[in-house]
């Protein structure tokens, strides 16, 4: 009798629990289906990381490290690119897949028409891939993002073939935008599909300029085609928010520390021109303000054992750069005008290179909130070293871009490599293998370990067997 009383409840418990057993492994914490717009939002948030990069701004020598200078002395030149693939790119690929697969495309219309979602995802993918190839050169592209198909070790593609495909992607994406619902979750253009078209075309113009030295014919054709499709007339900015989860990264790094100041060479160059953008770029030093005599002082770039005190050098502007919701530029009207100026200088278009160049500088002044009279602008423009001179267009555009692209670090680093202007300084005891100013990022150890065969093939085929930062990329002719 006893035995039944005791053990039957135990057995009952065992049996009752069996019923739920097979359903127990359904994850209650994470959804199996989401609105595809939420994947686009997440991908776009990654743009905030790309345009707010500290290392990019250091490599362009817009800023200098104040005390701990290893970053600016290129210690991190070897870097992994995997997070860009597993993060935004995989999200965007998933948006494309879900909008393409006949089984799922009907389920995802809540985030916009299939064609519009695909178009936005393709444009953003192109943006990220260009960002990556401009840093590393050859990267996995045609076989990338295909783990679902069993490809875990994608091969590397040449930068040329990537550029060629990106031109097509941008052209096709802009063309497939239809009159259906705009995308949801779009934090850049709010679902305005016309803006996406212009953004795609502008990216294409900029890409065409990037390859103009190495493949002028292709560059010219793409440029003219993109230009004809229409380009942006307002700066495209990444809109950080006044809250800590989405704040400007410069604000974050200055929240408790004071690690960066405007670089001395940029500050000297701009001071020499009395450039009115300088006070928009950087704050007067704390000590000079305390002493009642505010001045802007740059920090020498890449000193090995710097002894400068943070209060004696100028931090990036607290109203234009490092406030919590200060936007940072993705691509600007000034860049479009510089591109047009260069296209004119190269003879691709008939309009005046000088006028475009002037427009570019003026667009930059506007972008940075300079208040000026035409006379002031003319006075600035008429200085030697600023005034247009067709024979010297590389230097002029390089130097003016350096200023206009302030804090668009990675973009400026690419433009410096292509234009070989401005003249940047070599840090003391550089920590990169080439010991010069780097011409590319070195592939990270993750790829070497996890995709070793393709990595080795890429180094042999595209880098002459030497994965260093001293190897020129395909578009970097000299």
């Amino acid at each position: 009798m006893n035995i039944k009383k005791i053990f039957i409840p135990v057995i009952m418990l065992l049996i009752i629990s069996c019923g739920k057993f097979d359903d127990l492994n359904v994850d209650p914490n994470n959804p199996v289906k989401v609105e595809t717009g939420t994947l686009i939002t997440s991908s776009q948030r990654s743009i905030g990381n790309a345009v707010g990069s500290t290392l990019g701004a250091l490599y362009a020598q817009h800023i200098s490290d104040i005390t701990y200078t290893e970053g600016g002395r290129y210690q991190s030149i070897q870097d992994n690119f995997d997070a860009w693939y597993t993060g935004p790119l995989q999200n965007l690929q998933t948006v494309i897949d879900l909008n393409t697969d006949p089984d799922t495309k009907g389920d995802v219309l809540g985030s916009g028409s299939n064609a519009n979602q695909i178009a936005v995802a393709r444009i953003l993918k192109a943006y990220f891939f260009q960002f990556l190839t401009d840093r590393w050169g050859a990267i996995p592209y045609s076989e990338a993002l295909k783990a679902g198909e069993g490809i875990f070790t994608p091969k590397y593609d040449s930068q040329e073939s990537i550029y060629n495909d990106l031109f097509n992607e941008l052209k096709e994406a802009a063309a497939q935008i239809d009159g259906g619902a705009g995308v949801k979750g779009d934090i850049i253009f709010g679902g305005d599909m016309e803006s996406w078209k212009l953004f795609a075309n502008t990216l294409r113009m900029n890409m065409a300029i990037r390859i103009s030295d190495v493949s002028e014919q292709k560059a010219r054709a793409e440029f003219l085609d993109a230009m004809a499709d229409g380009f942006i007339t307002a700066d495209v900015l990444y809109p950080y928010l006044g809250e800590a989860n989405n704040e400007n990264p410069w604000f974050t790094s200055f929240r408790t520390r004071t690690d960066f100041a405007i670089s001395e060479n940029l500050e000297n160059y701009m001071s020499g021109l009395n450039d009115p953008r300088l006070p928009q770029f950087a704050d007067p030093t704390l000590n000079s303000v305390a002493a009642g005599n505010p001045i802007i002082v740059g920090m020498p770039y890449g000193r090995q054992n710097p002894t400068n005190s943070p209060p004696d050098v100028s931090y990036p502007s607290s109203t234009n750069v490092k406030c919590q919701d200060c936007p940072l530029a993705i691509i600007t009207v000034a860049q479009v005008h510089f591109a047009l100026a260069e296209a004119a200088a190269r003879g691709w278009i008939a309009s005046s290179a000088e006028e475009h160049y002037k427009d570019a500088i003026q667009a930059s002044w506007d972008q940075w909130g300079v208040t000026y009279t035409q006379a002031e602008f003319d006075a600035y423009y008429n200085q030697a070293g600023v005034t247009w001179n067709q024979a010297n267009w590389r230097m002029l555009i390089g130097n003016q871009k350096w200023i206009a692209l302030y804090m668009q670090g990675y973009e400026m680093w690419a433009e410096w490599r292509r234009l070989d202007n401005p003249v940047l300084v070599l840090p003391e005891e550089p920590l990169n293998p080439s010991a010069g100013i780097p011409l590319r990022n070195i592939y990270g150890t993750l790829e070497q370990n996890l995709n070793g065969t393709n990595y080795a093939a890429a180094v042999a085929q595209f880098l002459g067997g030497n994965d260093t930062d001293g190897v020129r990329l395909w578009w970097d002719v000299q």
Binding site: L14, T41, Q44, A144, T256, E429
Partner: protein, 1055 residues
């Protein structure tokens, strides 16, 4: 369907048998002729058949006619085996402290005779555990079991973690052994961070060592196949103290107090002040217009001026208070770091009531542990209640129940790790601090107006903190609190169906609820912050076991068959403020300025199991056993969720055949076993991850881990062989084990090229082989009535080799080092063909034919990236315990040691980078200070070779030399070899004649924990205490809190 039937099957197993029986009676006395109450009497070979003696030492037991031996045992007394023959009255006398044979607790709480076991089990008894009142159970085992490596958190913390590794690693990602108390599996999670912050202790640190009777460590899966997958890394079986039948109420009271003080600190230089170079800075004070000599206040490094008593304006002369404008002499404060620490006090009081009759025994224990740490404002209390009851309800039915309650409370647990945000004040001392600073000045960190003051001000006219708050701000304002309530225990009913067949059913539960609150106060360096983390974990086990024991002539048999349902449930909430607090120091989530981060998590997993074991014995010298277990795991794909695994073992007690006087006991044993394992829940199906929302737009991400619908259970196979020898009536003992353990086809989250779109993929892969030897040597070199010396040495050597990973993969990244690529990219790896836990990072470059490293023309070392820098696993580990008994005074000393096992020290790197370390001063071979400019004959001489192998020497500025060694891992990798005197005690048991009638026993002991780090290869760091919170992969010391040592006294009174 079929498994339900299988679980029920053994209930049909109720076939009863009968045998001719007789009743044996007798009396058990001690050597003084006093009756022993509650001594155990069992029939040999049928240990479940037994009774205990009553108040007069008498017993009565029904045995089969063919029963041969009775075994008499009593705690603290030697066990006796007595031949029954034709007797019906068997009296015996037990001798104190002499053990002839021993029973051990094995899997599923079944007690078996040690000689029948074909695998190694090592026991640690209560006395060993509580000798010096170590509060963490895991820490208390350090060095006491061969093959068990214990790595502790800092002893200067309160209630900190300890981690156990048995036989190196079994499996690629390491793991913890399963802890089981009275048959109830216990959680040993750790909810500390793995990189920094407070160390909240591993959950097994909840267990009160005062309530423990005995611990058996089952090291290989052979011993543990019956516990399923979690026994893969070994099982630590804990038996709690039980009540014994006796006259009246037994009361034991124990009180111990010990004082802790900080012990190991790095050696600091005391020659140079703070700054980035040796020049003073002239500042014009705007108040008086005078020019003053100052240090570079914003610097947190120590490359400043030589301290020669110069007059200067210290940082505190710029605060707007009565000290404004003062000057001081620039002199070192050699003891400033030590002055920060306080004397900690640990106070343990416990009381236990026990007693009972033949039908009912009970024990109720209560222990209060109260600790104030050496780090100011750190406190910890733990209260344990333990109730154990065994009631014989009828002569067939027994009820056993153990109920335990644990209440932990702590505030101000100190932070470890390299992270100023979590306020590791010691990180500041050892890495970023200055020698001229006066700790007493820093103690007044709060100004009259409520603002906070620190040494590392931004500049003379901006006295806010730049990199560091005052260390006192960290400990008094950023106070974390936590609380953990736990209950665990079991209710077991045992029913004797026949004399040979027993059945028992148990309900077991372990439930904990932990709440952690972290704070960063308003007004300091960091943005104010509050975080709440609440986790509720529960494991239930429903277990039914039937046992059958019989004897057929020379052959004994015991078998068991059981079923178990395990249910694990976890629920947690984690929330933190973002963007600061809207009212200063309002530590509530509602005060978050921006949307707080919030996450909820629930997890459920069931494992259903049936298992059986069969053991056969032949003439008490040859034993063969086997087990079989099948599990069904809810977290595996339905079609692959069933897995079966066997084990077998054999034991041969050859001393029974030899009959040598010298060889008291000799046994050869061998076993082979498999154990299956599954995977965490929710790993087989795709689900999106919740991202950070942008304003009101939610964001989701494709997960980084590619799930796998085709996972299979993994199987670990191990075998071991061993020899146990005891000579001269146990005066000398030796046990030796050799084992090989292969983890094959593990379920791994293997890293894949991120360019595929996923960072990790789950696959079945790999083969990790651990093998090694374990040696235990025990001896009683001297044994007299007034002097006895016993000693034990444990030694174990293990290698864990990565034989293969997956196709095309030759390395599995276990972890990235601190700072990632920016700090030079240190990694911890499992590389094919190498010892598990291989460190790789930047290091020196050598060319053939030279012992000197290659250097560049400027004197910098040529760096080789991704260089193999050794494994984190030690070459060998062990312990050495001695106890002496001299005229009633007992002296115990326990040493543990380790050789090898590499780790990277962030403290050492920054200690020198920042110019704090003693290594950064002194003279070079020219007789000039190395900190003088090279141009003036100073600098550090760097010897090396050029590319062509020619030797060269270059002088490098000291600051440059150490700056170049930042992220140069090889220089900062140390060998964790140590020899440590961990425990020391001197005790005296007052003779009974001095105690009168009320008091049964009284012991007074002087105790010391960690009194002496006898040997260490790394100066200033205790390599036995580098456990970073919950991090299982102990390969980095990121800012260790110093070790502490304690001295105390304990008094134990038995009534």
């Amino acid at each position: 369907m079929s498994r339900k039937i299988t679980i029920l099957l053994f209930f049909m197993f109720a076939i009863s048998m009968s045998w001719a029986q007789k009743t044996i009676t007798g009396t058990v006395k001690d050597d003084a002729g006093q009756p022993l109450i509650g001594a155990s009497v069992v029939v040999k070979g049928m240990e479940e058949r037994g009774t205990i003696t009553d108040f007069d030492g008498n017993y009565s037991l029904i045995v089969e006619n063919n029963a041969e031996y009775l075994i008499f045992s009593y705690t603290g007394y030697g066990t006796q085996e007595v031949l029954i023959g034709s007797q019906t009255v068997v009296n015996t006398t037990l001798m104190e402290g002499i053990t002839l044979t021993s029973a051990v607790v094995t899997a599923l709480n079944i007690t078996r005779d040690e000689k029948s076991l074909g695998y190694s089990v090592q026991q640690v008894d209560a006395e060993e555990l509580t000798r010096v009142q170590e509060s963490n159970l895991v820490g208390a085992l350090a060095g006491k079991v061969s093959g068990v490596q214990v790595i502790s958190g800092a002893s200067s913390s309160v209630g900190s973690s300890a981690k156990m590794r048995i036989r190196g690693v079994s499996g690629l990602t390491g793991g913890d052994p399963l802890f089981v108390i009275d048959g109830t599996p216990m959680a040993n999670n750790n909810f500390s961070s793995t990189t920094g912050g407070a160390d909240f202790g591993n959950l097994m640190s909840d267990i009160n060592t005062e309530d423990i009777e005995n611990i058996s460590v089952l090291k290989g899966p052979a011993a543990t196949a019956l516990y399923g997958e979690r026994a893969k890394h070994g099982v630590v079986m804990i038996t709690s103290k039980k009540g014994k039948a006796r006259k009246g109420l037994g009361v034991t009271f124990k009180s111990a107090v010990s004082l802790e003080s900080v012990y190991i600190l790095p050696s600091y230089q005391d020659e140079y002040a703070g700054g980035y170079d040796q020049n003073f800075i002239d500042v014009v004070d705007p108040r008086d217009g005078q020019t003053y000599q100052t240090l570079e206040y914003s610097a947190d490094e120590s490359w400043g001026p030589r301290m020669e008593g110069q007059t200067y304006r210290p940082y505190w002369s710029w605060f707007d208070d009565e000290n404004y404008g003062q000057t001081a002499q620039l002199t070192p404060n050699p003891d400033n770091v030590r002055d920060f620490f306080e004397t900690g006090i640990t106070n343990t009081n416990s009381i236990a009531f026990s007693g009972g009759t033949e039908k009912l025994t009970y024990r109720l224990g209560f222990t209060n542990l109260n600790q104030t740490g050496v780090i100011p404002n750190s406190k910890f209390t733990r209260n344990n209640v333990n109730l154990g009851v065994e009631a014989q309800i009828t002569n067939r039915l027994t009820l056993v129940s153990n109920v335990n309650l644990v209440f932990n409370n702590s505030s101000g647990r100190p932070s470890f790790g390299y992270s100023p945000t979590t306020g590791n004040s010691v990180q500041s001392f050892n890495q970023w601090f200055q020698r001229q600073l006066d700790m007493e000045r820093l103690r007044d960190y709060k100004a009259d107006d409520g603002t906070f003051q620190t040494w590392n001000i931004r500049s003379f006219n901006d006295p806010g903190p730049l990199y560091w708050d005052s260390p006192f701000f960290s400990v008094y304002e950023n106070v974390p609190t936590d609380r953990r309530n736990r209950y665990f225990g079991d209710i077991t009913m045992r029913y004797r169906i026949t004399d040979k067949i027993n059945i028992s059913g148990s309900l077991r539960r372990d439930n904990f609820n932990q709440r952690i609150e972290e704070r960063i106060a308003s007004g300091g360096l960091e943005e104010d912050y509050y975080r709440e983390y609440v986790i509720d974990g529960q494991e239930d086990n429903y277990e039914v076991i039937g046992t059958y024991a019989d004897r057929f002539g020379d052959i004994s048999l015991d078998a068991n068959l059981g079923g178990n349902l395990r249910q694990n449930r976890i629920r947690s909430n984690n929330a933190a403020t973002v963007g600061g607090l809207n009212v200063p120091n309002l530590f509530t989530l509602g005060a978050s300025i921006d949307r707080p981060t919030v996450s909820s998590f629930t997890q459920a997993k069931d494992v259903q199991s049936v298992f059986g074991a069969l053991n056969l014995g032949f003439r008490d010298y040859l034993y063969v056993g086997g087990t079989l277990r099948n599990d069904w795991s809810s977290s595996l794909p339905v079609e692959n969720n069933s897995y079966l695994y066997p084990s077998g073992n054999v034991s041969f007690v050859f001393s029974e055949l030899l009959g040598l006087d010298v060889l008291t006991y000799g046994k050869l044993r061998a076993s082979v076993a498999q154990v299956g394992s599954d995977v965490d829940p929710y790993r087989i199906a795709f689900a999106y991850g919740l991202g950070t929302p942008y304003g009101s737009s939610p964001s989701f991400d494709v997960p980084n881990l590619l799930p796998n619908e085709d996972l299979r259970p993994a199987i670990t196979t191990s075998w071991e062989a061993g020899l146990d020898l005891r000579f001269f009536r146990n005066r000398l003992g030796l046990d030796l084990t050799y084992y090989v353990n292969n983890s094959v086809d593990e379920i791994l989250s293997i890293q894949v090229a991120g360019s595929s779109g996923f960072g990790n993929a789950l696959i079945n892969a790999g083969n990790i082989q651990s093998k090694g030897i374990e040696l235990g040597l025990s001896a009683t070199p001297v044994s007299g009535s007034n002097f006895e010396w016993t000693t034990r040495v444990n030694f174990a050597k293990n290698t864990s080799q990565v034989i293969e990973l997956s196709e095309g993969i030759d390395n599995y990244l276990l972890a990235n080092g601190i700072g990632g690529a920016g700090w030079g990219g240190l990694t911890l790896n499992a590389a094919v063909g190498e010892q598990w836990g291989l460190l790789r990072g930047g290091g020196y470059t050598y060319i053939d034919g030279s012992d000197l490293p290659r250097i560049n023309a400027n004197g910098s070392y040529v760096r080789t990236a991704n260089k193999d820098l050794g494994s984190i696993l030690p070459d060998f580990t062990g312990g050495f315990t001695n106890s002496f008994n001299i005229y009633g005074i007992t002296l115990g000393a326990h040493i543990d040691f380790q050789a090898g096992g590499q780790f990277f020290s962030v403290t050492k790197m920054f200690n020198n980078y920042s110019g704090l370390g003693i290594e950064t001063v002194g003279n070079n071979d020219k007789g000039n200070p190395i900190r003088d400019a090279v141009a003036d004959g100073g600098g550090i001489r760097v010897d090396g070779v050029n590319a062509d192998g020619t030797e060269t020497a270059v002088y490098v500025e000291a600051v440059t030399y150490y700056a170049r060694l930042f992220g140069f891992h090889e220089e900062w990798i140390y060998d964790a070899s140590f020899i440590k005197l961990r425990e020391l005690s001197i005790g005296y048991n007052l003779p009974k004649r001095m105690l009168g009638t009320r008091i049964q026993s009284l012991n007074v002991s002087l105790i010391a924990r960690n009194p002496w780090l006898i040997y260490s290869t790394v100066k200033g760091i205790d390599p036995s205490e580098i456990l970073p919170g919950a991090n299982n992969l102990i390969f980095e010391e990121r800012g260790q809190l110093p070790s502490a040592r304690s001295f105390g006294i304990s008094v134990t009174v038995g009534l």
